[in-house]
Structures are given as structure tokens and as C-alpha cells.
Amino acid sequence: MNEETATAGIDVERVDFVRVPVKDIEEAKHFYGEVLGLEQNPNSPADDWIEYEVGDVTLAVMTPHTHDYEFAPLPIGTIAFRVPDVAEAKGKLEAAGIQVFEIWDSGVCNGAGVRDPSGNSILLHHRYAPYPDGTMP
């Protein structure tokens, strides 16, 4: 952590959750829980607000229409899921009937975009190159 910048501001400790808006909660539970295999938080507060733990951060999968606002999908590549192998993950999702876009290679990482059943854009992601200091993600 950079001490100089960390002392300014409002003492953000972490990201508690990222909201993932969906149109149909049952469809979303199938996708995030069963297809992606994310772990559901047993303390999820409501039937229209289901939380999934993804290693480092919580995804709050929820229906905007039951929370008084309009649905708008997440734009391109909003949430990047780290997978061991993008091609393998793509193959598994396609076998489950999920369309996955072409794999790209940035020179340091691979990625492939996917849309959840509500049209949210997520990314399968794997960095294969070390950082300039030699460390790996």
C-alpha cells in the first residue's frame, strides 16, 4: 500500500460488494451458483438479494425492479473472474449452453467475454505473464 495516498481520503477499507443487477433471480442463481459454481453466502439477506463469495469479494446478485429502480446491464467486461485456464473455462461454459466470445490475448493475459442470462457482461480472465518486478498475480 502506498502510505502517501492511503492517508488521504475516507479510509476505504475494502470493497464490501459489487452489485450485479439481474432480471430473474432464479435464472441468475442457476448461472452464478451452478454454471459458474460460485459459493452462495448462507447469510444472503433476501430472496431478491443473493450474495456469492468469489474469493476476494462479494457479488450481490439482485433484482433492481424489486428495489425500486430500473434494470441496466453491466457494461463490457465489468467483472473479471480469474480462472486457471480461459480456453478450458470457455469450453465448459459452451458445453453448458452458454455463448462465450472469442478469446483475446493482450500480451500479458487472456480473456473471453460472456453474458449472464440478464445480459451483464463478465470476463473470464487469466494473466499468464509476470509483472515487471517478477511477481505473479
Partner: protein, 117 residues
């Protein structure tokens, strides 16, 4: 299929300098020394991304609010308001305090603190 973690959450921008000033100087998030357009929040990386560079239309994160944990929502809100940040509203859900605001390009952010076990 195995998902290990979230590597980053994209934050759409139209101007990197303006967004960097907001996330680094206003919110005080530590900037990634290797990638100045990335910010570390303690657990997950927020990555600024200008979609027009990829030939895509700009869109905000929409309903994809990012909830930032702070020690005290009211104090953090007051500090940001003193810096000229407007809030859309606030809420006490019975288990947590929340205050809703946007970054300079309209991306939805939340100051969040759960107080109930």
C-alpha cells in the same frame, strides 16, 4: 468450472486523468504503482477503462454499484461533501448504513458499513 477470485472490476471512464484524480485524491485509494489506472481497495482491484479505446460506446456501470467499506458512513459522507461531492441519498437498512454517490462519469458508488452482526 473453477473461479478463483475477481481479478478486477472495470470502472468505465471518458478521461483517465479526471478519474485518477477522483479515485486517488478524493477517495484516497492507493494507486497501483505498476498500472496507474488501477486502484487497490484492500481486497479487489478497480480498473479504469475507457470503452471508446476498444471501439465501444461509453456506458456507466449502471446498477453495478461498488460498495466501499468505510469506518463511518456519515463521517465519510461529510468529508466527501466538503470536497464538493453530491450524494444521491442514504439508507439505514437495519443492518448497515449506506450513502449513494457517483464518480465524475456517473458510475454508481456506495459508502457502506454494516453495523449488525
Amino acid at each position: 468450472m473453477q473461479v478463483e477470485r475477481v481479478d478486477f472490476v472495470n470502472v468505465p471512464t471518458r478521461d483517465y486523468d479526471q478519474s485518477i484524480a477522483f479515485y486517488r485524491d478524493v477517495l484516497g485509494l492507493p494507486q497501483n504503482p505498476r498500472v496507474p489506472t488501477e486502484f487497490e481497495t484492500g481486497n479487489v482491484t478497480l480498473a479504469l477503462f475507457d470503452p471508446t479505446e476498444a471501439g465501444l460506446e461509453f456506458a456507466t456501470n449502471g446498477c453495478g454499484d461498488i460498495a466501499l467499506r468505510v469506518p463511518d458512513v456519515a463521517a465519510a459522507r461529510a468529508e466527501l461533501e466538503a470536497k464538493g461531492i453530491s450524494f444521491v441519498g442514504g439508507q439505514d437498512t437495519g443492518v448497515c448504513h449506506m450513502a449513494f454517490f457517483n464518480d465524475p462519469f456517473g458510475n454508481a458508488l456506495i459508502l457502506h458499513r454494516r453495523y449488525a452482526p
